[in-house]
């Protein structure tokens, strides 16, 4: 199917296509999505240790006890299996918008960021279709995009080298660095500090500045707010808003649905390794505007809706 051409570069938010609805700020610059992910699958190679079927005559309780404690005596075999954590996931990021991917903590959302950033663990299996700016990507072209076109904002200060001063760590053109520091209200002293000397808010802004050094068009932010107080979290979101308003895109991965509804333009609901619904924030106004039962359950779980659960989660 021709997924790449759009008749118009602006959709009204009621209009659905590619399985998603749009927000008013969503643009299809150049007639395509900024980032389009289709049927992404990420799996882990696992080694399962299975007890071998022992003959029934030997099934004495005492023997079993031993089996549990001393692996050496147990008759086991190891089987390789593929555990698919992300399974046929599709989503799109438009220019000018913030798309929030919302799902439970520890459900594998981070793997989505890793897959798009081209960061693969040795025992993973990653396949699917990824378009960036209308061009189909493979592993090596994705690698070439990172840093310059796609920037990653990690979640914690641990992503900074603990033994290197901030200024040296960010590197690049000092003028650009100063410009970014000013925009995100970081004093120039910060350049001489080590990561452990940063406050949570400073660290987050340093990470953002680091990501922006290469002047990217797409930011992928992985849980950028935990550990920040509300004010800082709002500030962080404002920074993303500013970025998106410049005609760029943000993919915000978070477990915080309230935050997502407040700052994002569209929400992709992540459940069981896939996106069950990708819709404009406006549709979270009432449950009947949402298609998937899980999205409706999320709606009902919001504090202002008295946590009244409806249907299965």
């Amino acid at each position: 199917m021709d997924t790449q051409q759009h008749l118009s570069s602006v959709h009204t938010h009621e209009e659905a296509h590619h399985g998603h609805t749009h927000a008013s700020v969503s643009h299809h610059a150049g007639g395509h999505h900024l980032l389009q992910v289709e049927n992404l699958c990420v799996g882990f190679q696992m080694y399962e240790t299975l007890p071998q079927q022992s003959s029934p005559a030997k099934g004495i309780a005492c023997k079993e006890k031993q089996t549990k404690r001393f692996g050496f005596f147990s008759r086991t075999t190891t089987r390789q299996t593929m555990q698919w954590v992300i399974d046929h996931l599709s989503l799109s990021v438009h220019t000018g918008e913030i798309l929030a991917v919302v799902g439970a903590s520890g459900s594998g959302k981070t793997l989505l960021a890793d897959a798009i950033m081209g960061l693969y663990d040795t025992n993973t299996c990653v396949e699917g279709v990824i378009y960036y700016d209308g061009v189909k990507q493979d592993a090596s072209s994705l690698t070439a995009l990172r840093g310059s076109e796609i920037a990653f904002v990690p979640q914690s200060v641990k992503s900074l080298d603990p033994l290197m001063k901030i200024g040296k760590q960010i590197g690049g053109d000092p003028a650009r660095r100063a410009e970014l520091f000013e925009r995100y209200s970081l004093s120039t002293d910060v350049e001489g500090l080590y990561p452990f000397e940063l406050s949570g808010g400073m660290a987050r802004r340093v990470l953002l500045c680091t990501a922006l050094m290469g002047n990217p068009r797409l930011i992928i932010a992985d849980e950028p707010t935990p550990g920040l107080d509300l004010e800082l979290a709002v500030q962080a979101m404002k920074d993303f808003r500013t970025f998106a308003d410049e005609g760029k895109g943000v993919l915000l991965i978070t477990h915080d649905i309230e935050l997502a509804l407040r700052v994002a333009d569209r929400v992709a609901v992540f459940k069981d390794g896939t996106v069950v619904e990708e819709t404009a924030v406006a549709n979270f106004a009432a449950p009947h505007l949402l298609n998937h039962p899980f999205s409706r359950a999320l709606w009902h779980a919001l504090p202002e809706h008295d946590f009244s659960f409806e249907g299965e989660l």
């Binding site: 950033m117 960061l119 040795t122 990172r146 840093g147 310059s148 920037a151 990653f152 990690p154 914690s156 641990k158 992503s159 900074l160 080298d161 603990p162 033994l163 290197m164 080590y194 452990f196 000397e197 680091t210 990501a211 050094m213 290469g214």
Partner: protein
């Protein structure tokens, strides 16, 4: 700072005391009578009758262990460590002479094994799972199982006996007077033992560095560096080395005990006149005063290594340094 120095001085004194007591007890319960064992020694032969009686009172099995220790300790505090019967000289003099050779040997082996071990560990860690990683790992595992003294024997046989590139032993040519010995002579004699010692030491450093490298390559900051567009190798160069150097150097200082142990064996094979060979001589010949002295010196060397390792952590790591509670 002052409290750290004080704490370490106290720790050192307690350690020296404990080591001397342990050594004395061990030497004291031995069924070997040190005076009887040395009756044939030239030092013993040249003694006057009074001196022999003194010696027997000092070390002989007739004197209670406690009394012997008090004798020794009170002399030690006044700077007298006793007389070595084996070398017919004050123990302190033997220790000073020997320490120079041993420290030179250990320092050379220490630097060599540190550099090669670090390099091999980093390469294996970055290239984890590849052929070169497996070769380096295999080399380390085999070396960890190799008897040091056997390797020394083989090295001696090949490079000194067959090829004749290096002398068979000692720290300087025999028969040359001390004034005539050049630095080249010393180097020529130290290379084989030092190389043997470092080849064995490499395994430990390399395996530890490899583990650490793998940890670092999976760390968030290396991943972030890659996400910023650096290649794996660039990221390793910019952020890996810095984070690796500290634990590696500390480990290397903390492993001085093992290098010293290796030097005892290597010195024995190469007849290299260091502390280790003196310790063996002292043990075989029941030269108790020297044995106690060497044990103390070796414990002091190990203590020094560990202390440097601890201090390095505090001085180099900005996380500790900048918090103000450094040292």
């Amino acid at each position: 700072m002052a409290s750290l120095v004080a704490r370490n001085i106290v720790k050192f004194i307690v350690l020296m005391f404990a080591v001397s007591v342990v050594t004395f007890v061990l030497v004291g319960i031995s069924p070997i009578d040190p005076v009887q064992a040395n009756v044939g020694q030239s030092a013993y032969a040249s003694m006057s009758e009074d001196q022999r009686a003194d010696l027997a009172r000092y070390w002989g099995t007739g004197t209670p262990l406690f009394e012997r220790y008090i004798n020794w300790a009170s002399a030690f505090i006044q700077g007298d460590m006793g007389t070595s019967l084996r070398f017919n000289a004050p123990v302190s003099e033997v220790l000073v002479n020997r320490s120079f050779n041993t420290l030179a040997l250990m320092a050379l082996a220490w630097v060599l094994s540190g550099i090669f071990g670090l390099a091999m560990g980093i390469v294996a860690g970055i290239k984890q799972g590849t052929l070169i990683d497996r070769i380096i790992k295999g080399y380390c595992f085999v070396l960890a199982s190799t008897p040091t003294f056997w390797l020394a024997l083989i090295v001696l046989m090949v490079f000194a006996v067959w090829l004749g590139w290096f002398p068979i032993g000692f720290s300087a040519p025999i028969g040359k007077s001390a004034a005539d010995i050049t630095i080249f002579d010393l180097l020529h004699h130290i290379i084989l033992p030092a190389l043997t010692l470092s080849v064995v030491g490499v395994a430990n450093v390399a395996l530890h560095t490899r583990e650490k490298t793998i940890d670092i390559m999976e760390s968030d900051y290396i991943r972030f560096a890659q996400a910023r567009g650096m290649s794996r190798l660039q990221a390793a160069r910019k952020h890996g080395l810095r984070n690796l150097a500290l634990p590696a150097i500390s480990l290397q200082f903390a492993s001085i005990s093992e290098i010293f142990g290796g030097s005892v064996l290597v010195e024995q094979v190469f007849s290299y006149p260091g502390l280790g060979q003196a310790a063996v001589n002292a043990g075989v010949g029941s030269d108790v005063a020297l044995l106690v002295g060497i044990t103390l010196v070796s414990a002091a060397i190990v203590f020094g290594g560990n202390l440097i390792a601890n201090i390095l952590y505090r001085v180099i790591d900005p996380r500790i340094k900048r918090r103000g509670d450094a040292l």
